[in-house]
């Protein structure tokens, strides 16, 4: 398998220099390294520039509804647990309109890999504030500066029950590939928040400014240690990149499956039983 076989014939419609190109490079390499057959992979997204991802992959694609990628992915996983699901989206899609869904995807520990392209702005709608925009950040919808402190995607993921939480940088596709591969191998809700600059509408959070704040996670960091992970995740100055948190916990699909007490009987028999018991 090589990376190019996961690229579709559609040329990405992102602006030249958009951080999302780095994510695409990292993902196709990760898929190649995993050796997943394209027919076993579903790319699910919401709506946004970043959510165009499924068009650019030659896997199954589901370009769904703004903010609803997680429930769509859950539906997909329950219906076809044999298919690998990778979810793509922006910070607005995932944490504003989709914020409520995110928490429940994480606590259920659904077995998906979720890649957020975090550019601290709304790209597709041409530059409004996002939940990860900094306080005082000026956009078209915050002309006097934002009065809302940002949320921290990795902190939220850790606290909501995600079992693999990493932070990456679009300027480092090789590093991204490693984070994606590890997230894909992980059984459970794997969130990779990628700092991925919007070069068109965000002149503050750029490749340069992100790079200056990035720091590698210390080699002795215990990834199973929740409070150590939160300390790194919430560092006020630095963006620690790498795997912040990783634990094992039963996944939603298995818990759902375990409820199916009738798995060795035909469903018709079960229905008859249930109906009889009601008569």
């Amino acid at each position: 398998m090589n990376a190019s076989m996961y690229k579709s014939a559609v040329k990405p419609t992102w602006c030249p220099g958009c951080g999302d190109f780095g994510v695409l490079a990292g993902i196709t390499q990760a898929l190649a390294e995993m050796g997943w057959e394209p027919e076993n992979v579903v790319a699910v997204s919401g709506i946004g520039c970043s959510s165009r991802f499924p068009f650019f992959l030659s896997t199954y694609g589901f370009h769904s509804i703004h903010g609803r990628a997680v429930p769509v992915a859950i539906g997909m996983r329950i219906a076809r647990p044999d298919l690998k699901v990778v979810v793509f989206g922006g910070d607005g899609d995932g944490f504003a309109i989709g914020g409520g869904h995110f928490l429940h995807g994480a606590r259920r520990n659904v077995d998906v890999t979720y890649v957020i392209m975090d550019n601290h702005i709304y790209g597709l709608t041409k530059g409004q504030t996002s939940p990860t925009s900094d306080l005082k950040f000026k956009t078209k919808s915050t002309p006097y500066g934002s009065v809302e402190p940002p949320i921290n995607p990795v902190q939220i993921a850790i606290c909501s029950g995600a079992t693999y939480v990493a932070r990456g940088f679009a300027g480092d596709p090789k590093g991204l590939k490693d984070l994606f591969v590890r997230g894909m191998r992980h059984k459970g809700f794997a969130l990779i928040d990628v700092l991925s600059p919007c070069v068109t509408y965000n002149r503050v959070d750029t490749f340069k400014s992100f790079k200056e704040r990035i720091a590698a996670i210390p080699a002795d960091h215990d990834r199973a240690d929740l409070s150590a992970a939160l300390t790194l995740a919430t560092d006020p100055e630095r963006f620690f990149t790498g795997v912040l948190f990783e634990i094992q916990r039963p996944v939603f699909e298995d818990r759902v499956e375990a409820l199916k007490g009738y798995s060795d009987r035909s469903w018709i028999e079960v229905v008859e039983d249930v109906f009889d018991s009601m008569s």
Partner: protein, 350 residues
Amino acid sequence: MAKQFIKGNEAVVKGAILAGCQAYYGYPITPASEIAEAAAYYLPLLGRTFLQAESEIGAINMVYGAASAGIRVMTASSSPGISLKQEGISYAAGAELSCVVVDITRGGPGLGNIAPEQSDYNQMVKGGGHGNYKLIVLAPNCAQEMCDLTMHAFDLADRYRTPVVVMADGFVGQMMEPVEFPAPVVDLPPKPWATAGTPETYKNLITSIDLEPDDLERHINHLYAKYAEIEANEVRYEEYMVDDADLVCIGFGVVSRILQSGIERVRAEGKKVGLLRPITLWPFPEKRLARLADEGKKLLVMEMNKGMMVDDVRLAVQHRVPVGFYGRVGGNVPSGREVYDQIMLHLEAV
């Protein structure tokens, strides 16, 4: 105030400001974002509030809350975002709260595209939410009306304690035209039902629940008595050369403007064609249409959808006269040529 050359979307915000709108809650979506962006710019300068919510659901519920406090409040969005707001709109109609919802319509279904369509007619006029309720729906066709009808919407909302919709296709929202500003509204009606923070009103309860069937039926009958009053008093439409016409074209929003120039062209050729433009889509000018049918005039409905308002026209005339339909979808706006050809086609059939 001097005339300004502005986009329809900006005219909405300026109209809202003049009407005394105190708060705007929204969520970005093309082609309605300029409304949020203009509100974000102007409202704080006036000591009023703008907030970008976490979603359209968040936004309509913030509106629901602010409306219950009795202030003038609005939200705006475009078709997919309006679909999300429908739950909140149903609640506001049930709880009888005054608010204004602006819909700058785009192409659907689904994500569709960001080009102009009028396919939200059914979700707005027929009620996209659950339950027995109606929404007043105003359909501007120029930037001036975007301002004026937004102001009117706030008045209607207060007068009838009901959500009012201003629905314009993306074309009218994006078009730049001169706008003259009416005088600001200074005297706002009192709202004794609101959470006013006074000793007299502290027992006010805002709700849309009525567990007893008889209670709910009474409440719905009360709503429908109000709707009957609206139907009797608030119908608005505009006519152009209808009196001697053999064929009357019917269209709202940008379509009405294209129709008007098409009619001018065929009139120059001596053909008797007129235009009726509903300004209120609900209440609908059905009485006027019935009279046109009495006079035996043929009708041609043109819309940027697959035929939605045409159903209301057919109901109004009860199939007594032929009702033709021509629609373009996908964000295509009918051209002058198409309008001309359609008029000729339907005239010939006279």
